[in-house]
């Protein structure tokens, strides 16, 4: 029944999915944190940029963003992200697009976390002479992160599934392979079920582990 699988590298395709997820997660965590910092900063220009970025990017379909990285950045502007190999370029473009998109959601999750930190915490931090960056990185953000582990897990799960959009620009991740297999093989439902199972295997532990972490690191007040 599963004989046909031998002709395909399913695990390899999922490995690409995992790589897309991990790189994009790290990137969007960093960029999303910076965006959140901008959105709460005292500088109006930065606040404006952060707000505009989030509101524009999160309202554009991911498919369009990913297609733009390929059609716009690569084919029109010739941005190759440091490689001549098409496979590598497309992979990096997809990661870039996923970071750009996901960071908007990371930013908003984090900003709601910042709002859970009592204003007195920041006041006390300022009162001992910490500057804005220190208040944010030493006192406010550590507490904000702890309160949004759950919402960030949601973002990470969504990101894992969103990596399938990278197939649109030819990145050979799981969904790309699935399409290929469905075209070639007769066991359509079985193939879909295998890939669905694969994604659940990736996302279910993410949710469970981060749910546990969230409880563990919660700030007691």
């Amino acid at each position: 029944m599963f004989d046909f699988l031998e002709d395909y590298d399913v695990l390899g395709a999922f490995w690409v999915t995992v790589q897309l997820t991990v790189y994009s997660a790290i990137g969007s965590l960093i960029w999303g944190t910076l965006l959140a910092a901008m959105r709460v900063s005292p500088v109006p220009l930065m606040r404006g940029f952060g707000t505009a970025y989030v509101n524009v990017v999160r309202n554009i379909p991911l498919t369009i963003i990913i297609l733009f990285t390929s059609l716009g950045l690569f084919q029109t502007l010739g941005i190759k992200l440091g490689s001549e190999d098409f496979t590598v370029i497309n992979f990096r473009l997809a990661v870039l697009g996923l970071i750009a998109y996901t960071s908007a959601f990371v930013c908003e999750a984090l900003r709601s976390g910042i709002n859970t930190v009592p204003v007195g915490q920041a006041e006390a931090a300022r009162a001992i002479g910490l500057n804005f960056r220190q208040v944010l990185t030493l006192v406010v953000l550590p507490q904000a992160f702890r309160s949004v582990v759950g919402p960030l897990a949601n973002v990470l799960i969504a990101l894992t599934k969103n990596t399938t959009v990278a197939a649109a620009i030819g990145v050979a991740e799981a969904a790309f392979l699935m399409k290929e297999m469905i075209e070639n093989e007769a066991q359509v439902i079985l193939i879909a079920a295998i890939f669905a199972f694969g994604f659940v295997c990736l996302t279910l532990p993410t949710g469970l582990i981060l749910g546990w972490v969230g409880k563990k690191v919660a700030v007691k007040r």
Partner: protein, 258 residues
């Protein structure tokens, strides 16, 4: 209505540390601080009392610019209060502040709370900062709680840690914004005792409080505020036994008889 006078002369000799000149502040239509003139000398303990909404907490918070002012000037140790940025952060490090709601950093242990400013602002070595933090925690009587998180401590213990955290910066002046108002009655004294000791050690203190006992025993001067103005300034004995303004008489009659 304004009867500012007395007592300034007997302490000014040691040098002026905090000077407020015609300070005004509005919260929307509310004129919370109206032409406040106040001078605090080095080593002086000034207790600010008055009814709720009289602007005493706001006054306290303007001195390290947690609240901005609309007009007037505030100088600390001869230097005008900087607007924003590094200079302001530096100044705040020299002005200790103790809040009504303690505001200990909830994600850090008691020891880390007292070390943070030393390490990140004063650039002290971790070891020295820890030794100093432990000494200060011992001084305020919570040395045994050093490795706990703030939420595991009682209110009185938390507030004493907050005092230690402020002292760790070697402040020139300490601001207390209703330090005992959020405490259960049985914990008020443990905090007041620490403050009494601090006053005896010569710390310059500005204390907003409803604790009249503390005002009597520890203050060099009582400042009575009402409706955004300083209505009366006097040495504690004179203020409590013989207030001059009707506003102060009225206030004292309401709080001293039960």
């Amino acid at each position: 209505m304004t009867e500012v006078s007395v007592a300034k002369e007997d302490v000014a000799a040691t040098g002026e540390l905090v000077v407020l000149k015609s300070v005004n502040k509005h919260f929307g239509a509310l004129h919370v601080l109206q032409d406040i003139d106040l001078t605090i000398a080095r080593g002086e303990v000034v207790v600010v009392i008055g009814p709720s909404g009289s602007g005493k907490s706001t006054l306290c918070r303007t001195i390290n610019r947690l609240e901005t002012i609309d007009s007037g000037s505030i100088t600390i140790d001869g230097k005008p209060l900087p607007a924003e940025g590094k200079a302001l952060a530096r100044l705040r490090a020299d002005v200790g502040m103790v809040f009504q709601s303690f505001n200990l950093f909830a994600h850090k242990t008691v020891l880390e709370n007292v070390m943070l400013g030393q390490v990140k602002v004063r650039r002290a070595e971790k070891k020295q900062a820890e030794a100093k933090a432990r000494a200060l925690l011992d001084r305020v009587g919570v040395a045994s709680q050093a490795d706990k998180y703030p939420a595991q401590l009682s209110g009185g213990q938390q507030q004493r840690v907050a005092i230690a955290r402020a002292l760790a910066m070697d402040p020139k002046v300490m601001l207390f914004d209703e330090p005992t108002s959020a405490l259960d009655p049985e914990m008020i004294n443990e905090v007041l005792e620490v403050m009494q000791q601090l006053a005896r050690d010569g710390m310059t203190m500005i204390v907003v409080t409803h604790e009249m006992g503390f005002a009597r025993s520890a203050a060099n001067r009582v400042v009575f505020m009402a409706d955004g103005r300083i209505v009366e300034e006097a040495v504690p004995d004179q203020f409590f036994s013989n207030p001059r303004s009707d506003r102060a008489k009225d206030f004292l009659s309401k709080i001293l008889h039960h």
